[in-house]
């Protein structure tokens, strides 16, 4: 089956720093979603991005479907950005859609 790997697995930043998180997938996908899981465990939607670039405030995401990767950029990081970031790829199989989660990147932003 498809493999979804994220890097780096862990990241520690000082507040105000920028970072890039990567999601690689081993096969073609229909779509891709980025989530932030906050320290209380809530999974929050960040981006739904099959290709191209989207921006939302300090966060932006780029998916290059032909090269099978997506990047999440966090600029001017804040302590509230801490948590785990997951990408999930969406596959269409036999008329249904499956979501395959990546391995996650654990981010800690220090004040």
């Amino acid at each position: 089956g498809i493999q979804v790997e994220q890097s780096p697995p862990d990241l520690i930043l000082q507040e105000g720093a920028n970072s890039t998180l990567r999601c690689n997938f081993s096969d073609s996908v229909n779509n891709l979603q980025w989530f932030h899981q906050n320290p209380w465990g809530q999974l929050i939607n960040l981006f739904y991005i099959p290709s191209g670039t989207k921006q939302n405030g300090r966060l932006s995401a780029t998916t290059v479907a032909t090269e099978r990767y997506s990047l999440l950029y966090i600029s001017s990081s804040q302590t509230t950005d801490s948590g785990v970031y997951f990408c999930a790829v969406i596959l269409s199989t036999s008329g249904t859609y499956k979501y395959i989660f990546g391995t996650g990147t654990r981010l800690k932003v220090l004040a």
Partner: protein, 112 residues
Amino acid sequence: EAGVAQSPRYKIIEKRQSVAFWCNPISGHATLYWYQQILGQGPKLLIQFQNNGVVDDSQLPKDRFSAERLKGVDSTLKIQPAKLEDSAVYLCASSRQGYEQYFGPGTRLTVT
């Protein structure tokens, strides 16, 4: 638009007891998912419903876990009997078919 609702938020039970979780998806979302998330890991899909039919339950431990989605709206997930290794967060999510998923707050289960 109301989000995905789950209850209870926390549950502590002894091993061999039974427990049930409830999920109410976003209105109009035909697809509903139950995930198990063990501390330090990503969510693992247990079961996926399309309306009130099961489309994927390949990772559901069917000897102890069961789930239903009556009338294609609310869903319940049951564990009977619970084991220590079932301690996890149980997440419910919903989506329009093939579109972005939205997650509920989860139920944190501790089995002692």
